[in-house]
């Protein structure tokens, strides 16, 4: 690990100012990803700005009926929060499907969104990787890529985003709240992470020095049936091979609203917009779910060794959707 200076920010403004004064600095949340990558010298920040004690903790009710979850809320506390469990169950389930009890006690909302890919070439500084070292090539493209993307990748990068939480947030139409020298803004979680294109070194739409202050869960998906399901190589404490988060609103025997996101299969939580469009207005039958999910999966382009993710995602998606449907179907 390279030596670094450490600053503890007392306020959001102080954090952003400190970042502006120290180019190359990194914000420190729980450190469960950043310190790991610093030990590997994938990250070599000269300065860490500790934001874990900023007054961005807690979960608050919003006047319009949604929820605000602070950037420094620990993953375990967010998952256990009664309002989250009650109104946005997919979020609680996604958080609990990730990492371990110890890690969730430390990991923060902000850090979870900005965690880096688990691509083994990215984590090994002796290997080529366009994300870590633009222009050096992509080791995974023709290398070991069983865990990599089947949607939206480019020849420059085939990595996936590893967060479970972000997949649920994307399906639930949550927004990321950001603060920077240009002020405050919010971005939909589903558009926050980028596709790699020609610039895989940029994971997200965050601007240099911008701080995540929280996430906003909208009233529109509050209280709707939602769920998360994840497939992994062992039963617990492993990243997703594929996962699905979905929220479904059914009224008068017809789907009114569908939010579906796939995890572990793309450089960002993959919003299954084609499937959603096909479902809205249809009766929530098994046939309709199969038709919709297959429409989405037709856009998949697996790599040499990860075609198994397509049927895996299909099975997860159909399971989640059928689990949600009976709970919403109105009596005829």
């Amino acid at each position: 690990m390279k030596p670094f200076a450490y600053l503890r920010a007392g306020s959001v403004e102080e954090a952003v100012d400190a970042h502006a004064a120290h180019p190359g600095a990194r914000y420190l949340g729980g450190g469960t990803n950043l310190i790991d990558l610093m030990k590997l010298e994938v990250e070599r920040p000269p300065v860490l700005i500790d934001v874990s004690r900023l007054p961005l903790e807690g979960v608050r009710e919003l006047p319009e009926g949604g929820l605000w979850a602070g950037a420094t809320v620990r993953n375990s506390d967010l998952a256990a929060h009664p309002a989250v469990r009650d109104r946005y169950p997919a979020l609680s389930e996604a958080l609990l499907a990730g990492a371990s009890g110890q890690l969730r006690n430390v990991a923060t909302t902000g850090g979870n969104l900005l965690q880096r890919t688990r691509c083994p070439y990215f984590q090994d500084v002796t290997k080529p990787c366009n994300k870590r070292e633009p222009g050096s090539g992509c080791g995974a493209l023709e290398g070991v890529h069983r865990d990599h993307a089947v949607f939206g990748h480019s020849r420059h990068c085939v990595a996936t985003h590893p967060s479970d939480m972000a997949v649920a947030l994307a399906a639930l139409d949550a927004r990321v709240e950001l603060y920077g020298t240009e002020g405050r803004r919010t971005v939909p979680v589903a558009e926050f992470h980028r596709l790699p294109g020609e610039h895989p070194e940029r994971d997200t739409e965050i601007r240099p020095g911008e701080l995540i202050t929280g996430v906003v869960l909208p009233a529109a998906t509050a209280g709707l049936p939602s769920a998360y399901r994840k497939a992994r190589d062992r039963a617990s404490y492993a990243f997703a091979l594929a996962s699905v988060a979905a929220v479904l609103e059914v009224a008068d025997g017809v789907v009114r609203r569908a939010g579906i996101a796939f995890g572990g299969v793309a450089h960002r939580p993959w919003r299954a917009r084609r499937a959603e469009e096909a479902l809205v207005g249809a009766a929530p039958t098994e046939d309709a779910f199969e038709h919709a999910v297959d429409l989405e999966l037709a856009a998949a382009s697996p790599l040499r060794d990860n075609a198994f993710k397509v049927p895996l995602t299909r099975g997860l998606a159909l399971d989640v959707l059928t689990r949600l449907a009976p709970r919403t179907a109105s009596p005829a």
Binding site: S76, R85, Q102
Partner: protein
């Protein structure tokens, strides 16, 4: 200045840290010796560890695990992977279980740490068990591990113990797990079935695969 500057607070366990100068920064990844390190790259931090306050000046790279083992000679917490992947380094931080290998000590100023060495003191005195052959008292879970033969080499055991103590407290506080029924009422204690214990302790790997006996030992001490 040689080694981390260290002042211990109250308590007869207070001791001077006298670590030899190590190689300069860059050569050592652990951030042990301060050597020629620029002032900006070291900080003074105060931690209470097992009830004793310690003020140390450390290289900012010092993670809690190395501070415990190398500066405070508390070698119970183990280094298995150094990357959050095995749980051998688990300790309690302000009462919550964490992986000490990923926590920079400078970020923990003012925090309370309990290591496996401090577990017996967490149990109410009437629940503390006598040690083997007149040794130190034991936490009831430590006694249960002995009785259930819940280890072979013992390398993962301090982490398993701290993790289980933390997991039981989480369940009592109503924290759900991946296998808890999502419809279970919020805030009420979650009963720890075998399935729950296995899931909640999945962050602690055991190379000797003592898992079945670990689960039984935890069951023995459930509230």
């Amino acid at each position: 200045m040689d080694g981390p500057h260290h002042e211990t607070g109250t308590g007869d366990r207070a001791r001077e840290s006298a670590r030899p100068t190590g190689p300069g920064p860059g050569a050592s990844g652990g951030g042990g010796a301060l050597g020629t390190l620029p002032d900006a790259c070291r900080s003074t931090t105060t931690l209470r560890v097992n009830g004793v306050s310690h003020t140390l000046t450390v290289d900012n790279r010092r993670v809690l695990l190395d501070l415990l083992r190398e500066d405070l000679d508390l070698v119970g917490a183990k280094k298995g992977c150094d990357h959050g992947q095995c749980g051998a380094c688990t300790v309690l931080l302000d009462g919550r279980r964490v992986n000490s290998c990923l926590l920079p000590a400078v970020a923990l100023d003012g925090c309370e740490v309990t290591t496996v060495e401090g577990l017996p003191a967490l149990a109410p005195p009437e629940d503390r068990e006598d040690g083997e052959n007149g040794g130190d008292p034991l936490h009831p879970l430590q006694r249960a591990f002995l009785e259930r033969d819940a280890f072979q080499c013992g390398y993962c055991t301090p982490g398993q113990l701290c993790s289980a103590v933390g997991a039981i407290a989480e369940a009592v506080a109503g924290h759900p797990s991946h296998v808890t029924d999502p419809a279970a009422p919020s805030g009420e204690p979650v009963p720890l079935t075998r399935e729950e214990i296995r899931e909640r302790l999945s962050g602690n790997l055991c190379r000797c695969a003592a898992y079945p006996h670990i689960v039984e030992a935890v069951e023995d001490v459930l509230p």
